[in-house]
């Protein structure tokens, strides 16, 4: 530890956490991820965007007062005093292969069930919904999938970031998140209205409208690129 850090510590309230049973004191207000790094752990896997979008940093924890296990993303959750936690590695889960051209829901009643038959084992226990860090109604979209409602499955699961916590907890071994991704892909291909904006943008790209800018960015020095990124301003097009 260097001196700067010590000075910081004096101002900071510290909290006590237990990582896989080992006790650490870390500054209050850190996320679980930064707290683990503070404690000396180094992430080589199980860490991605650090912004709550990639779903790589699933964590399981319990607090002193509560008997229930809680699930969350380590990059999005602040440490609490008396937290017992562990990071989850990437969990294996079957992901079915399919050709998007051959899964037209108009022609197949049970296309989701056909690829993910274990959906039929759902007992509506709601454990998936309770474990979702994105607050998605997972059980409801599994039920929608079972009744062949692809649109509802796609809509309800839209915020899914594929962290897989639902399927780890599922007593029926359903792979909710992979199944829902299939539903969203089918929905966007066959049912969602086409976007005029997207077609326009693809045409612009094909016509080379952005070639010059891309070339410029590709050849830019890293420092300059970072500066441009930090200063970027997203404006709505005319």
């Amino acid at each position: 530890m260097n001196e700067d850090k010590n000075e910081e510590d004096e101002e900071q309230e510290m909290v006590e956490i237990f990582v896989m049973g080992k006790r650490y004191e870390v500054p209050e207000g850190l996320t679980i991820m930064t707290a683990l790094e503070y404690a000396g752990y180094k992430f080589t896997r199980g860490c991605g965007c650090r912004g709550g979008f990639c779903g790589a940093c699933s964590t399981v924890y319990r607090t002193e007062e509560d008997y229930k296990l809680k699930m969350d993303l380590a990059c999005q959750t602040a440490v609490e005093d008396g937290m017992f936690l562990v990071q989850l590695p990437f969990m294996p889960a079957v992901r079915e292969e399919y050709e998007i051209e051959k899964v037209d829901p108009e022609e197949h009643d049970n296309v989701l069930l056909d690829h993910y038959p274990e959906v039929a084992r759902c007992v509506s226990c709601n454990t998936c919904t309770k474990s979702c860090p994105q607050d998605i109604e997972v059980m409801d979209y599994v039920q929608a999938a079972l009744r062949g409602d692809i649109e509802r499955t796609a809509e309800l699961s839209f915020d899914c970031i594929q962290c897989g916590l639902c399927s780890i907890r599922c007593p029926a071994d359903i792979k909710q998140y992979h199944m829902a991704q299939m539903a969203r892909r089918i929905y966007s291909k066959y049912e969602q209205p086409d976007s005029d904006e997207l077609a326009k943008r693809v045409k612009e790209i094909e016509e080379g409208k952005y070639d010059e800018e891309m070339e410029e960015l590709a050849n830019m020095a890293e420092e300059e690129l970072k500066k441009r990124y930090d200063e970027r301003d997203i404006v709505e097009e005319g």
Partner: protein, 283 residues
């Protein structure tokens, strides 16, 4: 809504048994007692779990009971026989066993708790009550049609959920009578169609279908009528393994036809239209 019924569809009514749902909806609308689908509902599980210690497989039906309770309704109506059986058995278990209800409520985590006050009914019960109204509303009598009712298991067994005499049911006969149809007696009408064996032992189902349909044919039936999407699938689809080609109707399809309502019949494997045209029921 005083004059409507809270309707629990079950998963199959939204895909493979759309004909059943749409004909039932039209009939009940016509009779002035529409079916209104529940705001939320969950797949019942299709087969009741029968072990004493198993609460987990009662969760889905009771969650649905909670939804009915939340909508302020005391009565839920199903069309599917399997849904009826599972919802009713699970619900009765909660009514009869306070400990199970407490365990269930602890796990469900719904607010408020399920009180155990909701009642599960099958549409046939409602239709029987409305027999006279149906008779009055018939515009297209099914006079020439010889129909063999088929009940299967789930409406009649076990005893505590039976909606009619377990060994000698009469409900469908009475309802069909009010449509003007000729009722054919089929001694096999309460025997199992083979149920879920259709998934991986279709040979078993084929034997059951052969047995059930051959009796109906020998008694002179033009068609079979029933009220369960799985029985309908088994008797309709698996007849291809037999020498028979007897159309298999949902009872609401026949009522709709007798009331002169226009219905779609897309879920049938064996063509039902030729028979209806031949008998002058459908043009």
């Amino acid at each position: 809504m005083e004059d409507s019924y809270l309707y629990y569809p079950g998963c199959t009514l939204k895909t493979k048994a759309k004909d059943y749902e749409s004909s039932a909806m039209k009939v009940m609308e016509e009779l002035g007692r529409p079916l209104v689908e529940m705001d939320d509902w969950y797949c019942c599980g299709a087969m009741q779990s029968l072990t004493e210690d198993d609460i987990m497989h009662q969760i889905a039906p009771i969650r649905t009971m909670c939804c009915a309770q939340e909508q302020g309704e005391e009565k839920v109506v199903t069309l599917c026989d399997m849904c009826y059986n599972v919802l009713k058995q699970a619900n009765e278990r909660m009514k009869e066993n306070e400990d199970d209800l407490e365990t269930m409520n602890d796990f469900l985590d719904e607010d408020p708790d399920y009180e155990g006050e909701v009642e599960v009914h099958h549409l046939l019960e409602i239709l029987l009550e409305m027999k006279d109204e149906i008779e009055d509303a018939v515009t297209n009598s099914l006079d020439d049609l010889n129909i063999a009712p088929y009940y299967g298991c789930m409406l009649l067994r076990p005893d505590n959920v039976a909606i009619d005499e377990t060994e000698d049911p009469e409900m469908m006969e009475e309802i069909l009578g009010s449509l003007g149809a000729e009722v054919i007696e089929n001694p096999k009408r309460t025997e199992c169609c083979g149920s879920y064996h259709t998934v991986n032992r279709s040979d078993i189902v084929e034997k059951r279908v052969e047995d059930i349909v051959s009796y109906a044919v020998n008694e002179g039936a033009d068609a079979i009528v029933l009220s369960c999407p799985l029985c309908q699938f088994n008797l309709d689809f698996h007849q291809r393994a037999t020498e028979f080609e007897l159309p298999v109707f949902y009872i609401t399809e026949l009522i709709a036809l007798a009331l002169g309502l226009d219905i779609e019949m897309e879920n049938h494997k064996i063509d039902p239209i030729s028979l209806l045209e031949e008998k002058g029921i459908k043009e």
